[in-house]
């Protein structure tokens, strides 16, 4: 009973967040000065050398407005927007890839981004936290300092420098991996899967390296302070062995803020992907966003931003759902 109520409550919050986010993305550009259709028409006119008749202009205006959902007053536009986006996941056609639908383009890019970033975020989180835990728990030993050094060295390197260095060493000098990946279109076969995997290793490696430095440092400092907590000291005085104290006491407690950080970083994977996908020409949502922004492809941009909103809100929702599993104090009604 309580559980169902809890889930329902969180789900309602989730929907509310989504709704507010979508509403803001709808209204924000509309309150900006200028009219995209007028801009577009003046562009066409400039190209056409003022040869368009007023009727033709009116016709273009109408069809453009219909195409991009700009017909009618603000309210009907808004309802139409919600209807298209929420019920049909339809953002209209892409400007640059006309007449391909934005949703098709997004769905094609999505698995790449999600696959790459889910794997790397999870990997760097797990490896980073384990190293950080050991480094923090045994912080008075020399070996722990070496582990911590790993984090201290990796963490401050700007991502683009790290990525380009890895690219130079592994792809340019050693030529183990391709400089720019090739992803053949066509059926999804075992061969293709292997190809995708092989082409993804380089960007994945840079993401893991860039991500786990932070995880090491943050887990290390959490573990150091947690192990001084009275309940860990008391466990020691009970005779609880080191391993159990490290895992059952220190890790279980230091984990909580780290889980929050993990889920929130999962929510922002589309932003995190931007640089990686640009550097490695990886065909994900990030690259799409960049192309869209560069080419003034409003619909595509809209679509990717909406996707980000959905991702962040979903991540927060998942966090709400799983957090009580880690921290009994959050369990509702207690």
């Amino acid at each position: 009973m309580k559980l169902a109520q809890y889930v329902l409550q969180r789900f309602a919050t989730y929907l509310a967040v989504l709704f507010i986010g979508l509403t803001i993305t709808f209204f924000l550009p509309r309150f900006m000065p200028g009219d995209p259709i007028n801009n577009y028409i003046s562009q066409i006119q400039a190209r056409a050398g003022q040869t368009l008749s007023p009727e033709a202009v009116e016709q273009i205006r109408n069809s453009l407005a219909e195409l991009y959902g700009l017909k009618g007053n603000l309210f009907t536009q808004y309802v139409g927007f919600l209807n298209r986006v929420i019920l049909h996941f339809d953002f209209g056609p892409s400007f640059t890839n006309y007449p391909e639908k934005v949703s098709t383009i997004l769905l094609r890019a999505l698995p790449y981004t999600v696959g790459l970033l889910l794997t790397t975020t999870a990997l760097s989180w797990i490896i980073g936290n384990l190293i950080g835990l050991v480094a923090g728990y045994y912080n008075k030993r020399a070996g722990a300092t070496v582990l911590e050094l790993l984090g201290i060295v990796l963490y401050p390197i700007p991502y683009y420098i790290l990525a380009i260095s890895v690219l130079i060493v592994l792809a340019f000098w050693l030529q183990i991996f391709p400089i720019s990946p090739t992803f053949l279109p066509g059926e999804f076969t075992w061969e293709k899967f292997k190809q995708i995997l092989y082409n993804s290793i380089l960007p994945a490696l840079t993401l893991v390296l860039a991500g786990f430095g932070w995880n090491i440092l943050s887990m290390k400092s959490l573990a150091v302070s947690t192990k001084e907590e009275p309940f860990v000291q008391f466990a020691r005085l009970k005779g609880v062995p080191n391993w159990n104290r490290m895992t059952g006491y220190v890790f279980r407690n230091a984990l909580l803020p780290q889980v929050t950080a993990l889920i929130l970083s999962l929510g922002t994977i589309f932003n995190g992907a931007l640089l990686t996908e640009m550097i490695f020409s990886y065909p994900g949502v990030g690259l799409l966003m960049r192309t869209a922004a560069g080419a003034g492809d409003y619909n595509l941009l809209y679509g990717s931003i909406t996707l980000s909103i959905i991702a962040v809100a979903t991540a927060a929702f998942i966090l709400d759902l799983i957090y009580p599993l880690f921290d009994p104090r959050i369990r509702l009604g207690r």
């Binding site: 008075k140 907590e229 009275p230 309940f231 000291q233 008391f234 466990a235 005085l237 009970k238 005779g239 609880v240 062995p241 159990n244 059952g248 006491y249 279980r252 407690n253 909580l256 880690f326 921290d327 009994p328 104090r329 207690r334």
Partner: protein
């Protein structure tokens, strides 16, 4: 009998090494409650750590040893070298901060079974723990709860249950009630006393609160600046102390009906970084002579069972007469038995909520 022999415990710090306990020798008979009292920084807690065998960096047992007077399951005598293997088997510990001494993210029952003393008999242990906590006035389901679901008093009962469940020979309690309000405090103290009577184990009890010492301990050891200054039965400590420091300590206690303002003991204890030659209490002592400042007094048995480290034991009754003007604390009844009887009957009447009983009891006592 637990024998402490010439214990010297040293802390290694950035500033250098400091002896927090120096030359403490003590024979503690079994089945008593021993109280250790003294000012902050006098070495009480360090001595507790030494007795518990918790001497890792920066604390080190530089001299002496503790002989616990029993043998381990391999037939070797248990000393400060191997006491760690007896943790929560034959020696246990009630911490000061019960509220933060339980792992907040696991159920209490799991914290009864995650240490070596319970390995291999988890189910069996949990069955009897359930019965046992009921005896201590807690509902049996309380061990299925998470710590934050219990009140402070209940958590401290859980800590007492943990410490006593395995019927250890020795229980160390380092200010087990300072974090609790007076109602719960009395409750926990009486619980400890009751269990000690039942199980006949030795409790070593550290507290700042001389009133608490008077009520629950049988023998007391007074520490001053890393040394033992007096060791005697609690009654003697309060009625006829043999050390001026003890006298000042006990006479600073307010007593009901006495409206005289209390004069504290002026001055501060000497720095352990640079302890003075001679008696360490000399510079605050009203009886100090030139001899006291030069020669360090040894802890001697001046009267049967009454040890004191003072050159001027003879002059103490005179000082006491000066210090004690109001009603003496010794005139208050020491009614341990009455307290225990009352609590036991109250617990029987209302097993699930011991707090109510304690509240009623408190009113009556006062």
């Amino acid at each position: 009998m637990i024998k402490l022999e010439n214990i010297e415990a040293t802390y290694t710090t950035v500033r250098g090494r400091v002896k927090a306990v120096e030359g403490v020798s003590l024979e503690i008979p079994y089945s008593i409650i021993l109280g250790i009292a003294g000012e902050s920084g006098c070495g009480k807690t360090t001595l507790m750590k030494v007795i518990y065998g918790d001497t890792g960096f920066p604390l080190e047992l530089t001299k002496g040893s503790v002989d616990y007077g029993f043998e381990n399951d391999r037939g070797q005598p248990v000393t400060s070298r191997n006491i760690q293997r007896e943790w929560f088997r034959n020696i246990s510990y009630v911490p000061q901060s019960s509220m933060s001494s339980l792992n907040p993210v696991t159920r209490i029952r799991d914290q009864f079974t995650d240490f070596p003393a319970t390995y291999g008999r988890k189910r069996e242990v949990l069955e009897s723990v359930r019965e046992y906590v009921q005896e201590l006035g807690l509902p049996p389901e309380s061990i299925d709860a998470y710590p934050h679901q219990l009140s402070g008093g209940m958590q401290q009962r859980i800590m007492v249950a943990l410490a006593t469940f395995f019927h250890p020979q020795i229980i160390l309690a380092d200010e087990p009630t300072t974090a609790l309000d007076v109602v719960v405090q009395k409750d926990i103290l009486i619980l400890l006393m009751r269990l000690q009577r039942m199980m006949r184990n030795t409790i070593i009890f550290v507290s700042h609160d001389m009133g608490v010492h008077y009520q629950i301990t049988h023998k007391m050891m007074i520490m001053y600046a890393a040394k033992t200054v007096e060791y005697a039965n609690t009654d003697d400590i309060f009625k006829n102390p043999l050390h001026p420091y003890t006298l000042m300590l006990t006479s600073s206690l307010p007593t009901i009906g006495d409206e005289r303002a209390r004069t504290g003991l002026p001055g501060r204890p000497p720095s352990l970084w640079d302890p003075p030659q001679g008696c360490r209490f000399a510079m605050r002592c009203p009886l100090a002579t030139a001899h006291c400042h030069e020669v360090e007094p040894q802890l001697l048995e001046h009267l049967p069972g009454r040890f004191s480290a003072c050159h001027r034991v003879d002059a103490i009754p005179e000082l006491a007469a000066k210090v004690w003007r109001g009603p003496k604390l010794s005139e208050l009844a020491n009614d341990q038995d009455k307290l225990i009887a009352q609590v036991e009957s109250a617990l029987r009447a209302d097993e699930t909520e011991g707090a109510a009983a304690a509240a009623a009891l408190k009113e009556e006592v006062e």
